[in-house]
Amino acid sequence: MPSLKELSKNADLFTGGHRACSGCAGPIVIKQVLSVAGPQTIASLSTGCMEVVSTIYPYTAWNIPYIHVAFETAASALSGVEAAYQVLRRKGKVKGKWNLIAFSGDGGTYDIGFQGLSGAVERGHDFLYVCYNNEAYMNTGIQRSSATPRGAHTTTSPAGTVIPGKKQFHKNLVEVIAAHGAPYVAQAIPSNWADFTRKVRKALDTEGPTVIDILAPCPLGWRYPSNKTIEVARLAVECKFWPLYEVENGKYKLNYRPRKEVPVEEWLRLQGRFAHLFTPENEHIIKEIQEGVDRRWESLLEKCG
């Protein structure tokens, strides 16, 4: 794999001047993906933060062909692009190899676009689907999604006096997609660019549908200073809340094992969305979250063998 220095020399396919918040992980994710994929790439976006900030007419941050249809259609619209690619290539109307990549937030992936993604993966279209997962509907102002972690405050799971934040644990997308029999599914983090770019390369080299779920911290929604994005991302991995692993043809592989035990509490403490948990009456939720993290970690280790 090329070094970060080498990757950074590649043409800027997602330019500056877009209107993402400072510290947003979304553009970092897109840039890292495109640094590997290169210019022969078509992007399919779902409605959401990255779509809204990057294509305000008459401007576009995309130096590659791009299509956006609606909120729930990143995968289904890309299915159509891929079908066109197959037939037009057969007819000699499209030349060369193209990468087809969907970018969608957790709303467009875990929730409203889930059916479209499931269908597209089952049909076996040859594309990479990247979920930039900021764990809530950030574009509409921080509402809970099925990717929002237990206990988090969002505007639809507010930390109230009776109900202290989100009641449920988040959905495990990688497991769900792996259960479809997708040839390659992975979980990644922007703070570990080497791991992420390797996964992108691997996904693009794999025939069939591949999915990478990458945690994308959001300073606004997670309530931390905008210069801490990479630090918050790194700690999510270190505390085992967000393990780095991949599932290749059903085979699980852990890509990174934290060297020392970091309680999840340390990661929660960095983020204002969990601030209400640090009170005597809510402390039990932190314990529950830790138990949830431990349970999922053990189950993952078992699968990794």
């Binding site: 078509i42 399919s44 976006l45 779509e51 809204v52 294509t55 305000i56 007419y57 008459p58 576009t60 995309w62 130096n63 590659i64 062909p65 791009y66 299509i67 956006h68 249809v69 609606a70 729930e72 259609t73 289904s76 619209a77 890309l78 299915s79 159509g80 692009v81 079908a83 066109a84 690619y85 197959q86 037939v87 037009l88 057969r90 007819k91 109307k93 499209v94 193209w98 059916q115 479209g116 499931s118 269908g119 597209a120 089952e122 049909r123």
Partner: protein
């Protein structure tokens, strides 16, 4: 030219086979299922070059069609009723993105109550989505219009739906004069997309705010204005080559008619027989069969209809405005600034597939004669064949 006995669904599927689109993304729904099924067998038997995407819903069907169209493919799909309703959000997107997609639509009512039979609620429900909408009277028209749809849509860059009536057309077999495969290909011509993701670095579907949205919407409206003459041009080309006439509407014995019945879809066939019978009795009555609901041919209709004393509209769907059915409402509006106003009356019929027969249409026509005599419409909106 081959002559076949085909149902409406078979006729549309055959047209799709001969068009041989690059991509078809479709989801089955009664009563349009057969179109998708037949097309699947064409794909399985290698009769077409099409990439067939068996999506998991109509929403994904139209999303995939939009994606494929953006990628430079000639694209078709088929649906009906709830399926069209599920597509509703993206119908606007397809039109706004100026994607020339063709839907073979079968008119079926909408839930609730759930019902699989014919009325025009589904198609009429999407009449403001920016799609060209054309109604076919029978299987022959369904076939011919599907071929014309490709040319119309690709010239004006607006998506188009050709619709048949559920079961009455979709499942009834009739004689269909087909064209040779080569004639179809020659008529529609090779496809060259106006824009394609594979051709240049283009951003399709950007965020379009207060400072540009309005201008882009205006361009879409302008495209619809330009569609009426294109429908006529393509119809003329079709007629000159293959001898069957189409257009925005068909005026049958309207020249000297005092009463003109306006309808769309399969009921026009029944109505035509009634007109002939009444003409034999000396009643000056005609039929105006509406092909195009979108664009609504208001200017030409004004010319043709304002000479009559009474316009009797048969509407197979309703508007919840409580002002009648959509065809009636549009016609009333079209005739508002006509130099001479005919009287107008609307009959809502056939909701949920209830049959309408010759006796009922004759009765409507004779009531119309009385209205002309009295020069007065007592009840502008009435129901046919309904227990009240």
């Amino acid at each position: 030219m081959p002559i076949r006995a085909l149902t409406g669904n078979e006729a549309m599927a055959e047209a799709m086979r001969q068009i041989n689109p690059d991509v078809v993304a479709a989801y089955p729904i009664t009563p349009a299922t057969e179109i998708v099924q037949l097309f699947a067998s064409f794909v399985a038997d290698g009769c077409v070059d099409t990439e067939f995407v068996t999506v998991e819903s109509e929403h994904s069907a139209i999303a995939a069609c939009i994606g494929a169209s953006g990628a430079g493919a000639r694209v078709m799909t088929s649906t009906s009723s709830q399926g069209l309703a599920l597509m509703h959000e993206l119908l606007y997107v397809a039109a706004g993105l100026r994607a020339p997609i063709v839907i073979c639509e079968v008119n079926r009512t909408l839930s609730s109550p759930i019902n699989i039979h014919c009325d025009h609620s589904d198609t009429m429900g999407s009449r403001e989505a920016g799609w060209i909408q054309i109604f076919a009277e029978d299987a022959q028209e369904a076939y011919d219009l599907t071929l014309q749809a490709i040319k119309i849509s690709e010239e004006v860059l607006l998506p188009i739906m050709i619709s048949t009536d559920a079961f009455i057309i979709s499942h009834c077999m009739q004689r269909v004069d087909m064209l040779e495969d080569s004639e179809v290909q020659k008529f529609i011509g090779p496809y060259k997309a106006a824009y394609s993701l594979f051709d240049k670095t283009i951003t399709i579907g950007p965020l379009d705010l207060q400072d540009y949205y309005f201008e882009h919407k205006r361009q879409e409206i302008e495209a619809m204005w330009k569609t009426a003459p294109v429908i006529e041009k393509v119809a003329q080309e079709f007629a000159s080559k293959f001898g069957r006439s189409y257009g925005l509407f068909e005026a049958y014995k309207t020249e000297d008619a005092e009463q003109v019945i306006v309808a769309c879809g399969s009921t026009c066939g029944t109505t035509r027989v009634v007109i002939d019978n009444l003409r034999e009795k000396g009643i000056k009555i005609g039929l105006l069969k509406l092909y195009a609901m979108r664009p609504f041919p208001h200017q030409k209709l004004k010319e043709v209809l304002s000479k009559a004393k009474l316009i009797t509209v048969l509407d197979r769907s309703v508007s919840m405005s409580t002002m009648g059915g959509p065809v009636y409402i549009e016609l009333r509006s079209a005739l508002y600034d006509a130099p001479k106003h005919p009287l107008l009356v609307d009959y809502i019929y056939g909701l949920g597939g209830r049959d309408i027969d010759m006796d009922q249409i004759t009765d409507i026509a004779l009531k119309g004669e009385q209205i002309i005599k009295d020069n007065k419409v007592e009840k502008p909106v009435q129901y046919v064949g309904l227990r009240e």
